[in-house]
Symmetry: C2
Subunit: 306 residues, 2 copies
C-alpha cells in the first residue's frame, strides 16, 4: 500500500464543563486527505483545496505533525500530502486538529502502524501548537480516538476514552465570523473563584459518571460551564438566544464549541437534534450573518481510511 | 419494631482531587447509636458516651437532623437517641456527619422508611450545618449511601453513587491534635489559578473514570490535589513525611481527609494497606503526638442496622 485516502473528523472541545480536557468526535464534518509514500525523501504538501493554507511543511499544521513523526521514524521514503479541507480554520470545531491528526494517522498506516494512538497524539500536538501557540490535545484526542475523550495530561500524553450512550447526537452551528484565538484567550481570567471551580469539577465528574451510566438526565444536568462561557459567550453573536432555543427544543445542553464561534448542543435522538437545528436556523437566518449547521452522531471511530 | 441499634460509619471527604464533592465510606470506624420510639413527643437525647457533647437536641448535630425530619414527618410519637461516639469530633473523618446521618437513618427505619436516602441527606445537612457553619454533604453522602459518592449539588440534593473496585483499602492516621474548622477554611484562597483548576478537574474526571473501570494505576495517577493540599497540609504536622512514606510503601495515593488533621491513603489490597499503616506508625511514634491508625475496606453499604 503506497497511498491512502483518509477522513479526519471535526471535533468539539471543552463540552461545557470540561474546559481544556474534554472533547468529542463528529461524524458528518471533516477533512479528506490523501497520503502517499514517495521515493523522494521528506514531507511534501502537494495539494490544498478548500482554504488558503501554506504549502511549506514547516508552516502547515499537517506538515509540522508529519515532520515530527518523520524525524522520529526516519523511514526510507518520503510522503506527499493532499489536503481537501472542509473544516474552516478558526471555526471552533477542531480544524487544525483534523489536519494535524490526518497526516500522522495516514503515514502511520502506510508505515505498518509502528505507533499507537498516544504516540500519534504526541506528534500531532506539535502541529496543533503552531496553530494555537500552545500545546493542547482536547481536539486531537477525540479526532484520533473517536468518541468522548478526557485529556488527563499532555506531559506525558495520557488520553482516557470515556464511553457514551448510542443515541447521542450533536447539533453545531458555525457562524461565519472570525474570533481571533488571542482574543478568546485574552477574555479569560487568570484566576477563578474557588466556589466556581468546585461547581465546574462537580459537573465534570458528574458528566463522566453520566456517560458511563448512559444517564441522559444527568448528562443534561452536568452540561454547565460557570468558568469560561460567561466570558467567551460575549464574543459570539446571539449565543444566549441560540442556547436557550436549543434547550427549549429538547437539547440536553448547549455551549461554546472549543474557543468558538461555533455553538454545540447535544440531544438524545436525531429527531431532537433536527428540531434543535431548525430552531438555530430560525435565529441565525434573521441576523444577516452567514452560518452553517451540522448534525452528527457521536463518531466513536475517529480518523479513518475511506 | 420500637428500638434499633445502628452503626453510623466514619467517612473520608475530598479524596485529594474532589474537594467539597467527593467522599468514601469506612467500615472499621464509626459510631453506634440506639434510636427508640417513645410515646412522649419530641426528640430526646438520653445518653452520650465517648465524648462530651450537648444533650439539648437543638444544639446537638444528631438532634438537629432528627428535628428536621421530625418536623417534616410529624409522627404520632417521639424518639429517644443514645449516642455511643467513637469518632472524635474534629478528626476529619466525618464525626458530625455520622451523628447527623445516624439519627435520621434510624428514625426512618422505625417509621417504615417514608424517606429515600436523598431526602435523608436533606435532613442530615441541617445537622451537619451546625457543626461546620455551612451546608455541605461530602461526608453525609458516603455515610448514607456507602461506597464512593459525588455530591453533584446540594440545592437540590443530588448524590451520585460511583462504583469502586473490590480490592480497595484505606489506611487513615488521625493525629490527636485540634485544627479549628475556621482555621482550615481561613487558609484557603478565595480564588485559584485557572491552570490549577483545570488540572484538578482533569484529575477528578479521571478518578471517576478510573473507579468505573477498576483501573488502579489511573486511580493512583488521579489522586492529586493541587488546590487545597498545598495550604492545609501546613497545618498537619509531618504531613509530607507520612504521604511520602505511604506512597513509598505502595499506596495508590494519599492526602488530607476532610479538613484534617487525619491523613488518608488508598491501597490495592489489605496487605499494602497494612504496610502503609506500619510506615505511618513508625513516623508518628517518634513525634510525641498521640495518634490512631485505622485500616478499612471501602464500606459499600453505609449506615446500617446492627
Amino acid at each position: 500500500m503506497n497511498e491512502i485516502k483518509i477522513f479526519s473528523p471535526a471535533t468539539v472541545a471543552n463540552v461545557a464543563c470540561g474546559f481544556d480536557v474534554l472533547g468529542f468526535c463528529l461524524d458528518s464534518v471533516g477533512d479528506d486527505m490523501v497520503i502517499r509514500k514517495t521515493d523522494k525523501k521528506g514531507i511534501h504538501i502537494t495539494k490544498i483545496e478548500g482554504f488558503d493554507l501554506p504549502y511549506e511543511a514547516e508552516l502547515n499544521v499537517a506538515g509540522v505533525s508529519a515532520l515530527a513523526m518523520y524525524e522520529d521514524a526516519k523511514p526510507d521514503c518520503g510522503f506527499e500530502i493532499e489536503i481537501y479541507k472542509n473544516i474552516k480554520p478558526g471555526s471552533g470545531i477542531g480544524s487544525s486538529a483534523a489536519s494535524a491528526v490526518g497526516s500522522v494517522f495516514g503515514m502511520n498506516e502506510l508505515l505498518g502502524r509502528p505507533y499507537n494512538k498516544t504516540q500519534l497524539t504526541e506528534f500531532a500536538i506539535k502541529g496543533e501548537a503552531i496553530a494555537s501557540n500552545c500545546e493542547h490535545a482536547d481536539n486531537l484526542a477525540p479526532a484520533l480516538f473517536g468518541g468522548f475523550t478526557l485529556v488527563k495530561s499532555i506531559t506525558p500524553v495520557q488520553i482516557l476514552e470515556i464511553p457514551s450512550p448510542d443515541d447521542l447526537y450533536a447539533t453545531i452551528i458555525h457562524p461565519q465570523i472570525e474570533i481571533k484565538t488571542s482574543e478568546s484567550r485574552a477574555v479569560l481570567p487568570k484566576k477563578v473563584p474557588l466556589t466556581d471551580a468546585i461547581e465546574q469539577w462537580a459537573n465534570l465528574g458528574s458528566l463522566v459518571h453520566a456517560l458511563h451510566t448512559s444517564d441522559y438526565n444527568l448528562i443534561s444536568n452536568s452540561l454547565n460551564d460557570v468558568i469560561v462561557e460567561p466570558y467567551r459567550s460575549q464574543l459570539i453573536p446571539h449565543f444566549n438566544e441560540v442556547k436557550q432555543a436549543a434547550l427549549k427544543n429538547g437539547a440536553l445542553g448547549a455551549g461554546i464549541s472549543g474557543s468558538g464561534p461555533s455553538i454545540f448542543s447535544l440531544s438524545k435522538s436525531s429527531q431532537v437534534a433536527l428540531k434543535v437545528k431548525d430552531a438555530m436556523n430560525k435565529i441565525y437566518s434573521k441576523t444577516g450573518i452567514k452560518f452553517e449547521i451540522h448534525i452528527s452522531k457521536i463518531n466513536t471511530q475517529g480518523v479513518k481510511i475511506i
